[in-house]
Amino acid sequence: MSEVKIRAALKDGKCEVKALLTHPMETGRRKDPAGNLIPAHHIQTVELLHNGNLMVEADWGGAISTNPFFSVSLNDVASGDTIEVRWVDNKGETSSGSVKVK
């Protein structure tokens, strides 16, 4: 199961959200030891929601590193709010995770 790890920390009036996703992020250009191309398999769209409201929508190609990390910051986040991150890849697979802001 592809995990989504999220950390959300309030600092200086804003909330820094760090997310670590589990994904091979194959570009489609790499070859296996036998010389065959490994098909592209990468996350295409990532969404970050604050209390159910879409705040960040990211489009990614295969050039985001394997097991992607990203961080963004939000204003107007309070303790107890929910931050959710979810993604969909080029094969239609999805995963998501959420945390309560401490």
Partner: protein, 166 residues
Amino acid sequence: LTEEHETVKPQQQRRLFIKGTLAGGAVVAAAGLGLIQPRLVLAAWPTDAFHSNSLEEALNKVFGSSTLEASDKVVLKAPGIAENGAVVPISINAEQLENVESISIFSEKNPTPLVARFKLKPGCVPEVSTRIKMGESGDVIAVVQAGGKLYSATTNVKVTVGGCGG
């Protein structure tokens, strides 16, 4: 003649009504089967932009323009030397710009330069960090879309071991 017209009209209306009902029913059925997922829209992924193999083409496909205004209000942090091209940390801060709509990352020498685009809603602090792959040494370009303009910052990253090998 007028009589004919009047007799045809209700039929047409009925046909339209039936068409409309069928189409509506299909949507309801699809939603019931879970075929329609709100929000996560796969089709919205800009295929052409991610498949463009030159920086200029990628910029045009994403923004409809490749005119960038270099600005010190876009603060791009990347390592001068990346020992591992598979994991190059990049961070971009555009807090000095107002109404930032998106922050995008391009790696000029990658076979397809567009790496990522983060679209930010009002309420986001315009800063983004992530880790990218670089096939070889070259420029990393951060493009910030704000108030209908494209502001950029560029930095060169020397890659010791490429990130797209194999």
